[in-house]
Point group: D2
């Protein structure tokens, strides 16, 4: 592992704009990156769940990496998701991400297969051999196992993991890692929350930053929230978080005829389209797209948040 600077602040998982023909819309992607940088974010995370990584063929993943890394050109660190079922498949993605110049990697535990902690540990050790800072991605809703705090801290102490992106929604577990980091003397280990609705809590506990899907829609809001918390102004942080909490309601714009993932990702993209950032609200197959009335609901949320 290279001795990277500890990652902190707001690092949104970047949505992947698509054309109506389901190709990566690189022009829109570039504008989205500008929109996020303009918001003051501290880094970018491409090829995460909010990027529809599960839907992107390998060719599209490479286009995203090349587009974003080329455009950012080192202004902020760019982490690359290397999401796949098990180690050998992940290692293929690692090679592509390293060649593209990613500043760090984000990997989940194995999924589809039934895993064991010893196998999860071996998985991360093998990925870390690539030499890039490696962030463990804890997302039980997708991976169907929870990363244990002990495992994470052991791999942190070994230098295998540079950080954790905790999207488990379990704030007691988040605190366990934060306190354990202190005990094990791995202060450089970066703890990031993916729970975009309790960012003030996570920062108050000592988390270093946040990876908010909703940050695509309102990066300025999350940056204000982070800055207020960093300044110790918890009242302002809470007010901003509550505003973002209400804005987050747009993820339910899609009706019961679609999955909750389709509704949320469709709403993020509809919001970016309505805000003029991306050209099309298209989501990848087999997701059901939002209809006109559902997009209008998204617009209402934006209007209420003064984002139109």
């Amino acid at each position: 592992m290279t001795t990277a600077t500890k990652l902190s602040g707001v690092i949104p998982p970047v949505c992947t704009p698509l054309t109506p023909e389901y190709e990566v819309d690189t022009a829109s992607l570039t504008r989205l990156v500008d929109h996020l940088l303009d918001g003051g974010v501290d880094g970018l995370f491409v090829l995460g769940s909010s990027s529809e990584v599960a839907f992107l063929p390998d060719g599209h993943r490479k286009v995203v990496l090349d587009t974003v890394l080329g455009h950012v050109a080192g202004r902020v660190p760019v982490l690359a998701g290397v999401i796949d079922m098990t180690t050998p498949r992940v290692l293929d993605h690692v090679r592509v991400a390293a060649e593209a110049g990613a500043d760090g990697l984000v990997a989940t535990a194995p999924f589809y297969t039934r895993t064991h902690p010893a196998e999860i540990a071996l998985h991360f050790r093998k990925i870390a051999e690539a030499g890039l800072p490696l962030y463990a991605y804890d997302l039980p809703v997708a991976v169907h196992s929870k990363l244990g705090s002990d495992l994470v801290l052991e791999l942190a102490a070994e230098g295998v993991l540079a950080g954790l992106k905790d999207s488990s929604g379990n704030d007691a577990g988040l605190r366990e890692v934060i306190l354990g980091r202190r005990d094990r003397a791995v202060p450089s280990f970066s703890v990031l929350t993916g729970s975009e609705l309790t960012v003030d809590s996570a920062l108050a506990m000592g988390a270093d930053g946040v990876v908010p899907g909703l940050g695509n829609v309102d990066p300025h809001g999350y940056v204000r929230l982070f800055r207020a918390a960093s300044a110790g102004d918890w009242a302002a942080a809470r007010t901003e978080q509550e505003r973002l909490f209400r804005l987050f309601g747009l993820v339910n714009a899609g009706g019961p005829h679609m999955g909750r993932g389709s509704s949320a990702l469709g709403a993020f993209k509809a919001a970016l389209h309505l805000r003029g950032v991306i050209d099309h609200p298209t989501t990848a197959l087999p997701q059901i797209p939002l209809g006109d009335e559902e997009i209008a609901v998204v617009g209402k949320y934006l209007a209420e948040a003064a984002l139109l």
Copy 2:
């Protein structure tokens, strides 16, 4: 969908032998295919869960397809698993499998993402556009959703699905599909069970065949079981099934320091190695390999089953 002959009988999911360097061991793979054909199987299923498909990079998947399809040369139908998270990624695998000459495709519902029945249906419809017979693979333990009988039967009636491989372990659901097939007049729809321990039950209900992981180790046994059931000799079928049930105990040879998947796949490969079919018992990373004592336990099961 082409008008394929209805698939029936014993169609084992073919293990993928690996070298100690984790490359596909094509010589062993060819011998394994011969071993299965010698056992009298009615078809082969490559790139399924027992094939460690979740661990095989795309390059290895292609080697497996080319090796097996080249060697079988049309003697029995060969189905190809196209296992990946969502439609666009699966379609990449479909193209490769079609070019390699696969006789049919096996696909699960989307995973990693949160799905909706309408999205699962769209997923299968898009895959079926390739024109190859498509078999739905119901494997809740890996995919974390269960294919509803209504959905399966609707897609069967539409001609989207040629069959079902039901590895859900839910025999009431299996019966629902078998009876529903009669009601909806889709008799050509093939119902295969992946529950290798209750094959006699499934066949007695009217299932057409079985896809048994353990069939790698003892294809002759599953063929005898199928033939006894086909002849209406249920007592003989039960006796054979009970023998295979006991042999199946080898999947627990691996101790609590590994995952249950590692134990089962490691035991299958150790058994094939002990039986002289494949050169190495190597399993893919990050699976923990069986130790010598654990392999000896596998040997004991084989000896008791007179397979050594």
Copy 3:
């Protein structure tokens, strides 16, 4: 444990008729018992899940026990469910059931609490001290843990358990117990399936009997099924099972505005009411009752099965 005769055959879980004021309708209950005995059943199981035991206050449970045991008067064995969260609470029910003269007890693993196999074993050992034949009730959908085959067989060998009622829907696990019973030389251990849709399969594997909720509605059908299987006429058994499978469709008569339990129990009671066996289709609170149109759907199923 007393040396009871091994339990076998059809032992329906007896519904608990209620008055519109939610009191136990003892007259209807007596008629229901007569209806079941007339069907030729081999035993009765009161205070099980299909009896709405989870809804019955202790006072009602006692009325049920006294009514049924008094009316049956030893003609067939009557098992009593002693369903509660943990051992001390179950023991209170055991005392009442023993005083009422129950011929056997049916208990689940502890629930609401997080259990451990050693605690489940201790739980059954304490209950067995009452001296009545004890049947373990494996119902993961309610209890949220699965009884391991090893645990069940160990308790069988110890003489703690007289039998198992397996409502897990896992027929491979059922077979494991049946084969293990042979290996451990506890032939008197009774294995009963609660999976009313695969009774022919279970009996073909060697199960001793069935505890079918649907047996309230059509006891004659289940008795025919059992007798056909006992005579080795598997074709007739399958035909009867398929007829009962289709009849079982009535459990979905209740729409999406109620729970699946309310729909199934409401449908059983509506069917008994339509067949003239019980006076009211009332189900306990807080279950949503079936509406008139939903009851008409139940009637349609009965008509198709020639049960009206």
Copy 4:
């Protein structure tokens, strides 16, 4: 519902001391109440999960109610858990609690049965008819369903619920209720967290109080935490919470030969015994008791926390 004062502050769920013969140890229970009141708690919750309510027969439940209510004599409000599977059984407990003089009731959604939101709502409405302030208890780990925020807020607006005890560990859901309470103008609705490791977060969000199992062991600590938060001294609140977080490690004193519930409840009682508050560390059957070495581990945690 009576117009109760809104409940806030520290309301520990009171452990139920037992004699070695598994009877309620009323002398120890009285001392435990004194210990808690001495700590400055704002109320008491008897017959909750930490009280081993799932293990207490009805007779014991009544002894607990009479002992605590008699001894407290109105000095602080005492809530009574009425934990049982469904409405009719819960209503029996409600009558006993009301007669004993409880100041409020705490009930979960139905469990063991499969529930539907409409049935959960009806359940709470029926319980509320008793006229005592009713607190919904959201404990998915035991009840296996999650109370939806919309459902809770609707019942709050109707006057059915006086408050929520949220032990779901889902702080985004907690925030949703807190913000929804403001929107629906039900400010008197009391939101209490049962997540004893993130109390500072919950209070910062606007929760009114906490129901900490660990508060049995160290009530003074939780009172200090609550007071620091109430005074807006978030740094002090966090320091106290982190100390309590480390103390909470004692719940894992019990080894892998027992359930996690046995370990936690056994550790709480061992700690109370070591601190001289209760006479015996006995836990109810079928829980496995802590051994001497495991109790010594609990002692070490107490020593480190300066509680010995």
